[in-house]
Symmetry: C2
Subunit: 248 residues, 2 copies
Amino acid sequence: VEKALAKKAISYGTIEPESVLGECDVLIACLYPSALASWIEQYQHAFKPGMLVMEISGVKSNVLKQIEPVLQPQTRFLSVHPMCGRESKGIEHASARIFDRSNFLIIEEERTLEDDMQWAEKFAKELGCARISRLGAKKHDEMIAFLSQLTHVIAVCLMNANDDISLSRYSGDSFRDLTRIADINATMWAELFLQNKEVLLDQIGSFENAMKAFRTALENEDREGMEEMMRTSKARRENFVKTDGKTS
Amino acid sequence: VEKALAKKAISYGTIEPESVLGECDVLIACLYPSALASWIEQYQHAFKPGMLVMEISGVKSNVLKQIEPVLQPQTRFLSVHPMCGRESKGIEHASARIFDRSNFLIIEEERTLEDDMQWAEKFAKELGCARISRLGAKKHDEMIAFLSQLTHVIAVCLMNANDDISLSRYSGDSFRDLTRIADINATMWAELFLQNKEVLLDQIGSFENAMKAFRTALENEDREGMEEMMRTSKARRENFVKTDGKTS
């Protein structure tokens, strides 16, 4: 709280939720996913009537499954995911610029209110997000398992695959790019992986199959097979750049 | 040649090597590795006496094995590897800035002359390279298999693992970083992979084992095992940043 005040990131802070919850119109809950349901259960009695609870965790289906039995029917609740996390943690690394041109996801489920989604869209735009999308929790978790969790697993495994530290003298940009996210918050990511276990295992399996196909082509000196995989890769990557808008 | 002249990248150009080779003090051969030996064989008769041949291919042991039987004993020869390739090809993408602060490797083998290595070091400094190292061909190929070839294989396999193009709407920076190099020159990389086949297969195997260890930990909900791998990854990555000098 002291650091946030010093940074002028907040105008008031407390570690006693009940002392302020009665005045809050919106609560943005930024907790570890596993802590969320019990936190809501504990403090819900103090929520201002009509307050919107917006949570931002990186996995959704399991989190919603844990929260829904706890939520009182009158509590307005929205799940969002700003796609702009950084590998560092702590308020020392806080930056308002992480939202610039990033993707912002809104989870639309049966109980989600149109008004709340529109409010979140406006909020995301003010933060500077470029593309704001709505999607269901299941689709979100499949997507995140592939685009974010699998990439983190890969970066970690790449760093674990070779213990020759002297190699760092020679690294080029490709290795730097692939392993930037290997500088990881182990506690948080272990939790995200476990909360999305089955979906992530599927994605790891697909990736392992693709690696195996490539290795087999190399073993057989199947130049055409390797080139075909690279052409597929190139074409899909170009599509990503196009759809995505960011060019690098 | 016309494009290079228009860009003022060269002061004179020709596609008839014999017309200029007699005047060249240094020849920088930038050919596909498999084309190098036969090119030298064909044009060596026209080399200026004492000329230095410097080749820049991305794999070394196999290339040297092919070149050495062809080289006349009096030909000065040096193998180098500027670690600053880009994913695009063609003179349209040429840029003098790619050398800025990058790593430059000089291959030191039995026949390598100290004078030639010193000349290359000076040359690399003038290009703007930050760290200039000497190492043997075998060590180079092991290092490059891990730091560069494996990372390209991973990026390609990641793009091949999922054909849901709609995912691009949601991608964050981690996926963008990992797949930048998936926009790949298929012909050149297939050749580099094949020229370094056994070493690359070893590195792919190590990575596959690391992936399997992670997958098993996730299957068993072994949180401590996953966190341990992430801590190892984080510590190694920090060492890379430190040794490497580049911070991102």
